[in-house]
Amino acid sequence: MEFGIVELSRLQFAVTVMYHFLFVPLTLGLSILVAIMETVYVMTNRPIWRQMTKFWGMLFGINFVLGVATGITMEFQFGMNWSYYSHYVGDIFGAPLAIEGLMAFFLEATFVGLFFFGWDKLSKVAHLTVAWLVAIGSNFSALWILIANGWMQNPVGAEFNPMTMRMEMTDFFEVLFNEVAQAKFVHTVSAGYVTASVFVIGVSAWYLLRDRHVELARRSITVGAAFGLAAAFSVVLLGDESGYSATHSQKMKLAAIEAMWETHEAPAPFNLVGFPDQEARETHYAIEIPWAMGLIGTRSLTTEIPGINDLVAQAEDRIRSGLIAYEALLEVRENRDATDPTVMATFEEHSADLGFAFLLKKYVDNPLDATEAQILAASNDTVPMVWPLFWAFRLMVGLGFGFIATMLYFFYRASFKGMNFPRPALHLAVWMIPAPWIAAELGWFVAEFGRQPWTVDGVLPTAMSVSALSMTEVALTLAGFVIFYTILFIVEMGLMLKYIRKGPFQDVEETEAWNTRHNDRLAGRKNPDSIAMPAE
């Protein structure tokens, strides 16, 4: 593969988004876990829960800030590196992004300051409300960004406008209730909840292994396991839902994940493992589970799932249809004040395939000049690289089932064995900490790499989406981001480890001082219970 501006821009996007996604899952889940802990504190008034809230809240803060910092890049990168994409679909894609800012970012960012700075400025209930608003804000932001991303996977509620040379929204509610987006949202936030649960259990296990902060650690594991168990089931079920919705929206992605070259008679088998061979278009040494693919993909025994070869043939047809649309588009643009109705009709008939004609732009400036060989090459381009998808998917799913098992075990020990955890299980929990991050990154990879060669499935090819930049510029900023992010990541990990080692604050002096000030203020209030109590 030639390495040009498109590949470099993709690399930059992949690096920055996957980096961003190191911090997001923990933010999503830990914000809720912290709010749950604070809820228990407010309900029971037991200082241990306040201490837990503060301790996990502080780790949340260290992580949150890098999620915010790396998220800024994402909001602007579309315009910087993907300016044609921004022009072409901004009318639809921009809206959820802006609403994300209005509805979610303001909420979480405005209140997160108060969460850390408001302990002795707010009543207990008010502080608890702030904690929940931060959690809700974080989770809302996932909703809107996944509505935006869901539209890239399954572009509904929009049509091409030849006058403005871009896609324009026709139905906001279709964009909003896009089945792909909704399944993705729950799948992604659940992944975040699993991440936070594994993190909390892992760190607590580390304390238990060293006999430190035992009360805090046991309770944290209990909360983490209960929450994590529900989340682990949800992440697998909604992952399945995503797969099901891909059956009708992204057939090629599904076939590639499955390395299903030929259309199989329904119900198709599921390739458990195997070695996909893109050249030969077959999967060597495949171990199949009969019927499973048909059941997962279509939830029926009779519906067929098309294989890659058939999909390539369909793509070729759509390229030819797209060329008709492209030719008509040029005429419509030429005579925009007096368009021949028959030309317009031709355009409208084929406009859904316009994006397929753009696949040829990689080979020729004017798609109408494309040779037969180029059309064939372009239709082959619609197949993403299969083996990375095949394996990333299997690894992710395997980890998902692993999380269910882990959570079940810890939940059982916490609920029925008096929060006693055997040492090997605690060791395992510590070692498992990185696993949800790996699973989450694999999930992104499958979703985004599997969408190639499109930025917007069937509408706009990736190769056409980039800005007209020089390699130097993109290379400079890529290097800048990598260096910059790496430094920040090292600093973050250093602080995280420092504060985990240090453990919850049990600074006697600070607590004394806090108590004195607290009592002073209580003297002037009628309702003393409404002010938060200090930790032990």
Partner: protein
């Protein structure tokens, strides 16, 4: 969906043009003092405790303030996609520098006081300085470039092509007029930061902030007036010629644009807009007086007034242009040719009408909870939880 037909496309475009202004002004009013405090930090606060006081005046609110910047990006994307596409890819390296500043700043706030090592703290203090000062300057430089026009054109497919070598997209931004515009924005935000510290800090930090802030206020007013005079004699303007529609499809290539001798003819066509620069100048002078006199609340209000006047004067002078093209005036982005579709503008307006009042309400509540000065005792007693 036909509800959006209730409002004309033209009206929605004008509303979104003013909302663009509201966002920029909202950003400058809130995040502006964060940047100002950052730029002032090494000069108003010398010891560690002084620095912590200065930092903690913005500590609980910078995160919310920064969202104005992010929302600005998102709203431009949603309401003005061509502007989003052209400006961010056009100011590519400058954007990277601004992003870098906005990435390092949260981390600096959060991590600075997490270790006791003085070198560690000093590195983050200087990061806070750079991440405040550099964007404060660059935002003005960008505005200076937009006023003069930016060298880009569209292809028939509406691909944006930027003229010139890649490094010129950065070095080329730094012409004398744009640098002057940068001085205006830099001095204005330093003034705003000074006004904020006057309100939130005490003692020596406040004294120094008042001193530097008042100088900045004079510089801002002086540079602003100078830039206005320069625009009267040396900067060309743009205008749309021929017949055009204000409710047609958003396609810049459907318009004819030519250059004029000056932007300031707008003041002859629409004399009422003179009020904007007047508010800017008077606000700046009042801020100067307020800082000198040590007035706290009113000075911050005057400073806000100055920012409001200065930013809105740029938009009102250029209307309906948003981003003219110097190399191919026909490609210029205006209110009439670079918005989203009728439906999207309407939906975004509904979303804004629902959420903006909520945001303003809860932001006001948070500021109210945090009302009062940040003192040495606040910082030392809560050493673990504050910055």
């Amino acid at each position: 969906m036909i509800l959006h037909e209730l409002m004309s496309y033209e009206l929605l475009r004008v509303i979104w043009w003013s909302l663009l202004g509201v966002l920029l002004i909202g950003f400058a009013l809130t995040d502006g003092f964060d940047m100002g405090v950052g730029a002032l930090l090494p000069f108003v606060a010398k010891t560690d405790i002084e620095r912590r006081i200065a930092i903690n005046t913005v500590g609980p609110v910078w995160e919310g303030n920064q969202v104005w910047f992010i929302l600005g990006g998102g709203a431009i994307f949603a309401a003005w996609p061509p502007l989003y596409a052209v400006s961010f890819s056009g100011f590519y390296l400058a954007m990277f520098v601004i992003l870098a500043a906005f990435i390092v700043r949260p981390v600096a706030f959060k991590y600075r006081s997490k270790r006791d090592d003085p070198r560690w703290r000093s590195v983050w203090d200087w990061s806070l300085f750079a991440s405040g000062a550099i964007p404060a300057l660059l935002f003005g430089v960008a505005v200076g470039n937009v006023i003069q026009g930016v060298p880009f054109h569209f292809t028939d497919d509406l691909h944006t092509i930027y003229e010139g070598a890649w490094y010129m997209k950065f070095i080329g931004l730094l012409d004398p007029f744009s640098i002057l515009a940068g001085v205006v924005s830099f001095a204005m935000l330093v003034m705003h930061g000074g006004a904020w510290l006057t309100l939130k800090a005490q003692g020596v930090v406040q004294l120094r902030a008042r001193m530097i802030g008042s100088i900045a206020a004079l510089v801002a007013v002086g540079a602003y007036v100078l830039a206005g005079l320069w625009m009267a004699v040396g900067i060309e303007g743009y205008r749309i010629v021929g017949d055009y529609v204000t409710n047609g499809p958003s396609n810049p290539l459907h318009f004819e644009v030519e250059r004029t001798s000056t932007w300031l003819s707008a003041y002859a066509d629409r004399p009422w807009i003179t009020v904007a620069p007047l508010i800017g100048i008077v606000g700046g002078l009042l801020t100067f007086l307020g800082l000198r006199a040590g007035r706290e609340v009113s000075t911050l209000l005057f400073s806000k007034m100055a920012i409001l006047g200065v930013i809105s004067s740029v938009g009102l002078t250029m209307f309906p242009f948003i981003m003219p093209s110097s190399s191919d005036p026909q490609s210029s982005l205006t209110v009439w040719n670079s918005s989203s579709s009728h439906l999207t503008l309407f939906i975004m307006l509904v979303a804004t009408a629902i959420f903006m009042p909520l945001i303003l309400m809860y932001t006001a509540w948070v500021y109210k909870v945090l009302w009062g000065k940040v003192t040495e005792a606040d910082v030392s007693e809560n050493s673990h939880s504050v910055y």
